[in-house]
């Protein structure tokens, strides 16, 4: 039979996911040989019309990374959905919105205002602002696309079959997923192609947890030099390992830094941030409001801490303006 047709595309992402694919290193060759890459803008010269020319469902599997911010991204996602048997949301941006999703805490207007009116490096009294339609004296009209207030996850725009988490995903997980799919060993639709258990399960420090996992104080990473062997959460650092899907082998913890949750939540969880917050609040070992307030003051940015990678996928995915500017 002919080699399975594979497409890679990136929407609103940083390119790290592409790197993750390239990081397959030697392993990329057998994969490249096993498949027929029909579309991969970042690495190969192919055109959108090549995709448009394809039969519907002609592509066996499309890996799409990045969140959705622009109409073009939405169009492309929809096109690939139409042309593909399977669509895999590749990486945390496509899966949960990712770090760019933090933009949902602000809005387009504020961004434009700051960047072109307030940024310290602007020329004195800046007066120009990019326009969606500009008539150039000599040439006619130049257009810039309108970009959205909201960053969305891929499955908020198209139907997604599988998810590969991680910022970026690990080459190994990617490889396993790809092989599964090539072999046609398809897990149930909607599955996240990573371990079902949380990071703690693969963290060697888990054994070092105390009898009672309760903390009397919360520390910010720059405030302490944590012991390199014992559980960071037990040391008062906000390690989100307990709430975060495993699969990375606890890389950050191995580097003596707390897990920030880039693999996203486990299957039963509806709202990563809400649950992670609940865990942290629960294990603070005090019934004294004053103590608690002091403790929580060490979490000056709950949204950025608990929703760092998943705001667009949260139950409340976007900041609501209390009083419009």
């Amino acid at each position: 039979m002919s080699r399975p047709k594979v497409a890679f595309y990136w929407c609103a992402s940083c390119g790290g996911c592409e790197e993750a694919v390239v990081d397959l290193a030697e392993n990329i060759l057998p994969v490249v040989e096993a498949v027929d890459i029909v579309f991969w803008p970042v690495a190969l010269d192919f055109k959108r019309k090549d995709v448009e020319a394809l039969e519907n469902r002609a592509i066996d599997v499309a890996f799409i990374n990045g969140a959705i911010r622009l109409s073009e991204q939405e169009e492309m996602a929809k096109l690939l959905r139409e042309k593909s048997k399977l669509v895999v949301a590749y990486g945390t941006c496509a899966y949960l919105g990712g770090i760019p999703g933090l933009a949902n805490l602000t809005d387009r207007e504020s961004i434009l205002h700051y960047v072109y009116r307030e940024a310290p490096s602007l020329a004195a009294n800046p007066d120009t602002m990019p326009q969606e339609h500009v008539r150039m004296a000599e040439d006619g009209v130049l257009e810039l696309p309108h970009f959205d207030d909201t960053v969305r996850t891929l499955d908020q725009v198209i139907d997604v079959d599988y998810y590969i988490p991680g910022c970026p995903p690990l080459p190994q997980l990617t490889l396993e997923a790809v092989q599964k799919i090539l072999k046609g060993e398809l897990p149930p639709k909607g599955a996240v192609l990573a371990p079902a258990q949380a990071l703690c399960q693969e963290c060697e420090r888990n054994a070092s947890k105390p009898e009672r996992l309760m903390i009397s104080d919360i520390k910010r990473v720059h405030e302490v030099i944590p012991d390199a062997k014992t559980c960071l959460l037990a040391q008062g650092l906000l390690c989100l390992g307990p709430a975060t899907r495993g699969g990375c082998g606890a890389l950050c913890v191995q580097a003596n830094m707390p897990c920030t949750g880039c693999f996203g939540p486990l299957e039963p969880i509806r709202d990563f941030g809400g649950k992670a917050l609940s865990l942290v609040a629960s294990i603070v070992d005090s019934t004294d409001e004053k103590v608690l307030r002091e403790c929580f003051a060490k979490i000056p940015d709950p949204a950025g801490t608990f929703y760092r990678y998943s705001l667009p996928a949260a139950l409340l995915p976007q900041r609501r303006k209390i009083n419009a500017r």
Partner: protein
């Protein structure tokens, strides 16, 4: 995010909306709610009915389950605390698992608290919809059954506690009766006569007290207090602290020679039992009929304890029985009981809180309880009613409702003051021939023979003045008032202010919750009313039950009542306890949590959070494991579990999320 509810076997729901006569129907448009429900997803049938809890109502449900093959049932009527159990049984009788039922509270939470019919109907609809969305996720469950300890703990040795203990003991159940005072008997032991029959309190109480002592099925623990309670219905573990009385109960014969032998030739310390009107020695029995009749040594006043030097007359007197043991230490007992009856009683209102009545200022202003001792033949004056200076009072004023029916102090009526005031009035007049004035707000005599007794006093020429007394003082305005206490009152029947000079004033103090009622409530984990009286599960249908299964109430700890009511309630409490332990096992709500090893992150947060140490970490499998027998179903581990591995039956995430969505949809 991939997180779809997965709906099990296609649900077929029956919804039954209750009129509850007019209780619901008068406010909620039941027909509209039923119509609305009938169009909700998975609803096979929706009916309205006058009283769903009635037999025909329940039959209706059973029939539908069988004929329409329902696999879910919803009843929208009253509070689940009232009828959830009823309808679960109905559901079961219909042939499906009782937990495939959900109750909607559209009476207590809707029709009774809402004026606007439209709003009430809308709210009822929302709550029904929530139940429909929720019940879809209900699972088949079996109640957890546990064996019960056949023993019962009775706390408080007043008449209520005594009666409850004897009732159970006579039913061949073992009872631990705990009393913090050196003797049982409670307030009743202080009384001389009891209204309205005027039979002697001692004569009817003492036999019961001795019966308690003698009963093989009763372990009497006086001078003791409950210090810890845990476990659950049928399986309570109770810790009892026994204070040292320095006289060993098992050796003492109750000859009381030790008291005679005490170096103090005469009693010089105020007697607690006599409310300070009488005196006792450092070694004493509170009163002659005390049970157990075993003296107590008060370390505060005993010279041996104070100075270390004493000829130990008591020890000599006791001789080779050697019951006296100065080295006795506090002792802690661990009891296991299936049920607990609280009969911790009341305290009387502190008359000092109303300074304008002169209590504590004028020696001849007494509280009613003090006078009970004065008129008591075994009391400090041998039943002689005399003033502090020994004179016989010629005129006596009895002021009702002191610390009752009063916004400044206690708003409630203490129920017994009118009657005991009449009783005292009668006894005083009988024994002293004095003129007796009753100052009352309303005369309340609703009880068997009560009104007749009131009539009798009217016939005995006792004076009754209707009006709340403004003040008691000794400021004589005219010679006749010299040396007397003047009671100033507005006689509301003739509408003039009056000054009544008397020799003795009796303040009919009201009943209050015990000073430490709040601690006791927490100790036993029950609720209490705003006033501090222990709260019954239902004012009418469960008057002796509490919200904690297996803990029952008897006597005045639940609210003011007289002796017959206390005894009746004690009997009821005993019967409830008996019903519980006689069955041999209890069935508990299967609302326990469990941990799905599939998803458990092994983070161990839940281990420390569980208040009942029901969760331990299995280092082998690197997951937390929950012991269902210890889990009480609070669900705090579920709320904390960061991986969603902890879940709770009857309160599954799916169920709660669906319900919240439903009330808002």
């Amino acid at each position: 995010m991939p997180n779809e509810h997965n709906v099990p076997a296609l649900p077929r729901i029956g919804v039954y909306v209750c009129h509850c006569g007019t209780n619901i129907a008068a406010r909620v448009d039941v027909a509209a709610v039923t119509e609305y429900a009938s169009h909700l997803p998975y609803v096979s049938v929706a009916r309205e009915y006058k009283y769903v809890c009635s037999d025909p109502g329940q039959e209706l449900i059973k029939k539908d389950i069988e004929e329409l093959k329902l696999n879910r049932v919803i009843v929208a009527s009253c509070s689940p605390h009232l009828h959830e159990h009823t309808f679960r049984l109905t559901t079961q009788a219909g042939g499906i698992n009782p937990y495939l039922f959900q109750m909607v509270n559209i009476r207590e939470h809707v029709s009774w608290v809402t004026e606007d019919s439209a709003a009430a109907t809308a709210k009822a609809k929302a709550l029904v919809r929530a139940a429909v969305q929720r019940v879809v996720f209900h699972e088949e469950l079996a109640p957890k059954s546990y064996p019960v300890h056949p023993q019962v703990l009775v706390v408080g040795g007043g008449i209520a506690g005594i009666h409850a203990a004897l009732t159970l003991a006579n039913a061949a159940k073992h009872v631990y009766l705990v009393e913090r005072e050196p003797s049982i008997g409670g307030h009743m032991a202080k009384f001389d006569k009891t209204f309205p029959t005027l039979d002697c309190a001692a004569c009817i109480l003492t036999p019961k007290m001795t019966a308690v002592k003698a009963h093989p099925n009763i372990t009497l623990l006086t001078y003791s207090e409950v210090t810890r309670v845990d476990g659950f219905v049928g399986n309570y573990r109770v810790q009892v602290k026994r204070k040292p009385r320095y006289v060993e109960e098992n050796k003492c014969l109750g000859c009381l020679e030790c008291i005679t032998g005490c170096v103090y030739k005469d009693a010089r310390y105020p007697s607690e039992f006599e409310l300070g009107l009488g005196k006792r020695k450092p070694i004493y029995v509170p009163f002659p009929q005390a049970v157990p009749l075993v003296p107590v040594i008060d370390a505060e006043t005993c010279i041996l304890f104070k100075s270390g030097k004493c000829p130990k007359g008591c020890v000599k007197a006791c001789g080779d029985r050697a019951a006296i043991n100065f080295d006795q230490k506090e002792e802690v007992l661990e009891l296991e009981v299936g049920a607990i009856i609280l009969a911790t009683g009341f305290q009387t209102f502190d008359a000092g809180r109303l300074p304008f009545y002169g209590y504590g200022l004028y020696p001849n202003v007494y509280t009613s309880l003090e006078v009970e001792r004065l008129v008591n033949a075994s009391g400090p004056t041998g039943g002689e009613i005399v003033l502090r200076d020994g004179r016989r009072p010629k005129r006596v004023g009895i002021i009702h409702c002191v610390g009752s029916r009063d916004d400044q102090t206690n708003r409630w009526c203490s129920r017994v003051c009118c009657m005991y005031s009449l009783k005292l009035a009668h006894l005083i007049k009988e024994r002293t021939g004095a003129e007796v004035y009753n100052f009352y707000i309303d005369m309340r005599t609703p009880g068997k023979g009560f009104e007749e007794f009131y009539q009798r006093l009217l016939d005995e020429q006792v004076h009754f003045i209707r009006g709340r007394v403004g003040e008691v003082n000794d400021w004589a305005a005219i010679p006749e008032e010299e040396g007397k206490l003047i009671i100033r009152v507005e006689d509301t029947l003739i509408g003039i202010a009056r000054r009544i000079p008397v020799d003795m004033v009796i303040l009919s103090v009201g009943l209050e919750p015990q000073a430490d009622a709040a601690e006791v409530r927490k100790l036993f984990n029950i609720t209490s009313s705003a006033e501090g009286w222990f709260l019954e599960r239902h004012p009418k249908l469960a008057p002796v039950n509490t919200f904690s299964d297996g803990i029952f109430l008897a006597g005045c700890c639940q609210g003011p009542k007289d002796i017959p009511d206390s005894v009746a309630q004690a009997g009821a409490a005993a019967a409830e306890a008996l019903a519980l332990i006689d069955k041999g096992c209890v069935e508990l709500e299967p609302n326990t949590a469990w941990i799905d090893a599939e998803h458990c992150s092994g983070c161990q947060a839940c281990v420390a959070l569980c208040p009942f140490t029901a969760i331990r970490f299995d280092a082998e499998r690197r997951v937390s494991v929950l012991n269902e027998a210890l889990c009480k179903g609070c669900g705090t581990c579920v709320a904390a579990c960061p991986s969603g591995a902890a879940q709770q039956h009857l309160f599954l995430d799916e169920e709660l999320f669906a319900e919240v969505e439903g009330v808002l949809a």
